[in-house]
Amino acid sequence: MDLGNLDSIKLFHPEIVLAGTIILLTILDLVVANKRLLAYVGLAGCLVALGATAELYGTEPTLLFHRMVALDNFALFFKVLTLAALVAAIWMSIGSGEVKQVHLGEYYIVLLTCGFGMFFMASGNNLLMAYLGLELVSLTSYILTGMLPHNRRSAEAALKYLIYGGVASGTMIYGMSWVFGMAGSLDYAAINAAMAEGGGNQTGLFIAFVFILAGFGYKMAFAPFHMWSPDVYQGAPTPFTGFLSVASNAAGVAILIRFFYPAVSTLGQEGSWTFQAFSAVQWTDLLVALSIVTMTWGNLSALNQTNVKRLLAYSGIAHAGYIMMGLVVLNNDGLTAMLFYAVVYLIMNLGAFLVVMVVANATGREDMDAYRGLAWRGAAFPAVCMAVFVFSLTGLPPLAGFIGKLLLFAAIIEGQFYVLAVAALLNTVISLYYYARIAKTMFLDDPGPDDGPVAATASAVPLLGALMVLTVVLGVYWGPLLDYSAGSLGFFMK
């Protein structure tokens, strides 16, 4: 069933709350002097929205606003994810030294708007909504990236991001236009139907899909559409980088899944999907290739990085490649693994960036040398947390990252993509090298003469602790999260 505009309002609370918060912030920005307040308002808004989302669970799936957006577990899952990322990002921003320089009002407004856009990337039920949401996220990201005043890196990063994003999204919308031409509509259900009766032709569809993939891929930052990310990560203020690295990635995953699964595939027996389009195209081969190239490229580039943010950017690319593995197997196990990994990745990567922020606050540096002997410079706790996060990113038990990889590997090995599996494993080993390098620098190296003590930012510590505990706990007892991810695969279209 799908609802009209008025009926939809009732089931639209999270978005409404978020939008309300944005407007509230816009007004408050003009009146209040103490800008810190804005942060707490934004925080409160996100939490309320989280509550609203939680309260939407259980309502039967529907399409809202004349089939514009879907309300199903899948959408809700990513809304929760986005809101969680928002909360963490705002919390980080409160303690961040970089963020202090910017106009906090605009900062928080744009940040929340970014999250707002991600909602529609996750829930959009047609390519138009997907495009709008994606553009909203992109525009806000450009702004946030370029926000640091008198900062060449920031401005340059913003420019590159803008151009790259502009081209990518332009290509995407062009490809979408072709789909429109072949399916006669942008609505996923309609597209699916058109595919079912073999509309369009292979070449045209392929071109269109490749173009669309360029748009999605640039959001999710997988090769070869990832090139922006290192520069942007390095240039952007750290809290936002953290947010971008996890939320934008997650949104990319969401939009990808929603388009490639409900839209152009059909669900068969025990959760195995088959592509409607591309009877002739080995679509999975393309995805396998993309995934391998992505993880390898990311890991190899990360090896020699000296700037930790940049290193994490490349590691993020690599992880995008890992997540892609879930896409190729064309079954729900793979998708579950992807969702699971998205959550885990959010936790551990945010944690890593939080530590980066702590160090940057204390030393004003982001390069590896700033971490020399961190553990012995009064920052033992952040150092330990960082170790946990990086080893979790490596995928060592008993940490959450391992479970994520385990599920992904399980999926592809069950699907007998042995080449992919071996490639991924070798990548894991390679990645260990640079992750371990961080740990080595923090613990094994002795502090240099001019490395002063590092005091952990007060507000960062509780979040850090929470994330670390989560990383460990999810590594040992991940059953509930697994069920949650599996349960979040409900797509609603008809």
Binding site: L128, L139, Y142, N151, E156, A158, K160, I163, G170, F180
Partner: protein, 110 residues
């Protein structure tokens, strides 16, 4: 030959698509070769235009409904906002680097 001429004469969907394709290609060419940030933005505008043209053409020939035109409107709107932000960034860059040659503004690299 005659058939080819005929296909030339009775203007149909494909003609418009080809025009849009040419625009798209030129836009790509620009973003590939231009070093000037603003010119690159021009290229992006061309790409968006070609997409818009596609939508309108489809809405005319394929669906007969106005949905496609609405999409084009959205595209135009987004193009505008993108241009606004883009140019703002370009100005910021100019303030910081005194040039907008993207090759001259390469501090972010390995």
């Amino acid at each position: 030959m005659a058939a080819y001429l005929a296909s030339l004469t009775n203007v149909g969907l494909e003609h418009y698509l080809v025009v849009a394709g040419i625009l798209f290609a030129l836009g790509i060419y620009i973003v590939l070769t231009r070093r000037n940030a603003i010119s690159i933005l021009l290229g992006v505008e061309l790409i968006l235009n070609s997409a818009g043209l596609n939508y309108v053409a489809f809405s005319h020939f394929s669906t007969g409904a106005v949905d496609g035109q609405i999409y084009t409107v959205f595209i135009i709107m987004l193009a505008a906002s993108e241009a606004a932000i883009g140019l703002a960034i370009v100005l910021a860059i100019y303030q910081l680097f005194a040039t907008i040659d993207v090759e001259a503004t390469e501090t972010l690299k390995d």
